[in-house]
Symmetry: C2
DNA sequence: CTGAAAGCGCTTACAG
DNA sequence: CTGAAAGCGCTTACAG
């Protein structure tokens, strides 16, 4: 293994200078830097990261905690985040919390700040406050913070729940639908314990009801309880059909759920969008190739990742300066993808992932 | 931050002893160990990982390189691997190579052995040999090694291409199909550069042809070139239909491709399995909830991850002992999931992820 | 079984 | 702008 000392020797400078040169500090004379970088290249020098991390307190490694990588939403987010960090020469450790509240907390509390410079987390059951209790001052960025919005204590990036759900429902209205069910609203079904905490579910649901009200539609009978999973969505569809399916549209609170609804409706022989139109939320890949393709609120994952990394770097830069700046909440953009599950085959153009 | 020195002081022992006690070395007297662990707990001690890694040469962090986490196959594998490592208190950095040969190599060569104890890689374009040239002695485990099988130079874990494809085709035969197309066989289509290297595609294709021959079916006209992606699968289906669809079954070389085939056939109004039966390979989640559900060779991802970690630990343990043990190749198990795309609604029971 | 000493490879003040 | 010295927090021989 080649060490910095050897590079310095080969370049005829001290280790301190070599170190500064390789890190691109601008106090180093251009000519000196060149000597050093050439020596480093010639010797195939690679910095020893643990040594650097020990001395500097920065490892260049971040952690993302997600409940399940097999879930396309989290996989897409992880993909974008890993790629964005990679662009900046940073690395991402991914941990899977399996929708388990205690596991989330223990994973957070076992992150030593020395190995990991910051935490990105999609918490399913813990508020920012609860996470803050075990994060020991580590920089944290939340995706869809489960706190009530008034007292969030970390920076967060949120999916456009309000705008997106509103757009989906107005689209259903424009398609002529008047009996719109809100699938996966709050409170949850009592079939299984919900995989997600209250806040996000409540947020989207409230907005859905408000939009129905604005449009002069009945919101009193709109709630269709369901957990936000494909498995539950399928069961929910069966229950709906058994109960007579009093809806001509189903606005699902996320895509996983919507995919299960579509499957369940197909099993029951219900035509989509003929008898019922269906919308989702997230914009995960399968919605683009199942039949019928799924109309959905597609979240801008790329800018989600870009903003996340940039907010994290702000936290790192400003650490210890003042007391603590106000936590920021940023809402990402979206596009309403109008596909077959609302407008049918003829109107929806070819559209695939 | 609490250091080992403080724990040692609180427990009334030396740092060396405290270190040994906390790492569970059995040379430490039980009574001493107890004093130390209690002190560590009381002070909320967390070992500084970079310091440990610097001294010991082990970080407890591994890296997985996959081409795309949004692809359900790689997401599923990453999920299993991260979870299995987590069980052993190890961590996983995930890097995304975007199906790019050069990016794969540069990511490998930039792994400093000091920060990462070993590499798991799903290489799409590089053989084990090519990876070996830039891995600088780092332990490596390949998933579906792209080398020709004779001269692999790392341990590898392989999907059950031969057995699985054989089972899928025999199943199609049992369903009465006699004109079976092999979709995604080698050589590739010339529409786009293939996302995957030759070896895996060739492996599965050869086995498909061999099975057709065994069954006395025509293998000469069986090849349907297509890249192994959903997008390409859809286009391939359109081409097939335009050309008159001379098949009553399509055996797809992986699920992503099969999902695209199903979508394309649906767009063309072709009944599955009525006019054509379709099979996939991998067992990713969407195949369980699309309509029709996809008959597929479901790989045992969990044991894939368990074996991967255990083989990696063998490499770590045996490093530097003898010259180099023979690289091992292990083939994981599978189950043939018989679903609607071959047996239709009536025969396939309810089956969802 | 335990402790004192050395040192892993860097970066960080600080002196010049 | 550069270099000599110190030290980040551990673990590893080694002596007892």
């Amino acid at each position: 293994m080649v060490t910095l000392r050897e590079v310095a020797q080969a370049a005829g400078v001290s280790p301190s200078t070599a170190s500064a040169a390789l890190r691109g500090m601008d106090i180093v004379k251009p000519q000196t830097r060149k000597k050093v970088t050439q020596a480093a290249e010639r010797l195939h020098y690679r910095a020893n990261l643990p040594a650097r991390a020990l001395r500097s307190g920065r490892s260049g490694i971040f952690t993302l905690i997600v409940p399940d990588l097999e879930n396309a939403f989290y996989a897409r987010l992880a993909n974008s985040l890993a790629t964005e960090l990679d662009n900046r020469d940073l690395r991402l450790i991914i941990q899977v919390s399996q929708f388990n509240k205690d596991k989330e907390l223990s994973q957070v509390s076992e992150l030593t700040s020395s190995m990991c410079d910051g935490l990105f987390i999609c918490s399913t059951h813990n508020s920012g406050r609860e996470i803050g209790r075990v994060s020991h001052g580590l920089p944290v960025l939340l995706f869809d913070d489960m706190s009530t919005q008034e007292n969030t204590c970390f920076d967060s990036i949120e999916t456009p729940s309000r705008e997106g759900i509103g757009a989906a429902i107005r689209h259903l209205y424009d398609c002529g639908r008047r009996r719109i069910g809100i699938v996966g609203g709050f409170p949850p079904s009592n079939r299984t314990p919900p995989t997600l905490g209250v806040t996000l579910r409540e947020n989207r649901y409230k907005q859905a009801l408000a939009t129905l009200d604005q449009l002069g539609l009945d919101s009193g009978q709109a709630l269709v309880p369901s957990d936000w999973t494909t498995r539950e969505g399928r069961l929910t569809a069966h229950h709906l059909v058994e109960d007579g399916l009093g809806f001509d549209a189903l606005c699902c609170m996320n895509d996983s759920l919507a995919l299960g609804i579509l499957r369940g409706l197909a099993e029951c022989g219900i035509q989509v969008p003929g008898q019922v139109a269906v919308t989702g939320f997230d914009g995960i890949a399968p919605g683009g190739y199942i039949t019928p393709t799924l109309t959905t609120v597609a979240v801008d994952f790329t800018s989600m990742a870009v903003m996340a990394v940039s907010m994290m770097e702000d936290q790192l830069g400003g650490r210890g300066r003042q007391s603590r700046p106000m936590p920021r909440r940023i809402i990402v953009g979206y596009r309403l993808l109008k596909r077959e599950s609302t407008v049918g085959r003829s109107a929806a153009g070819p559209d695939i992932i």
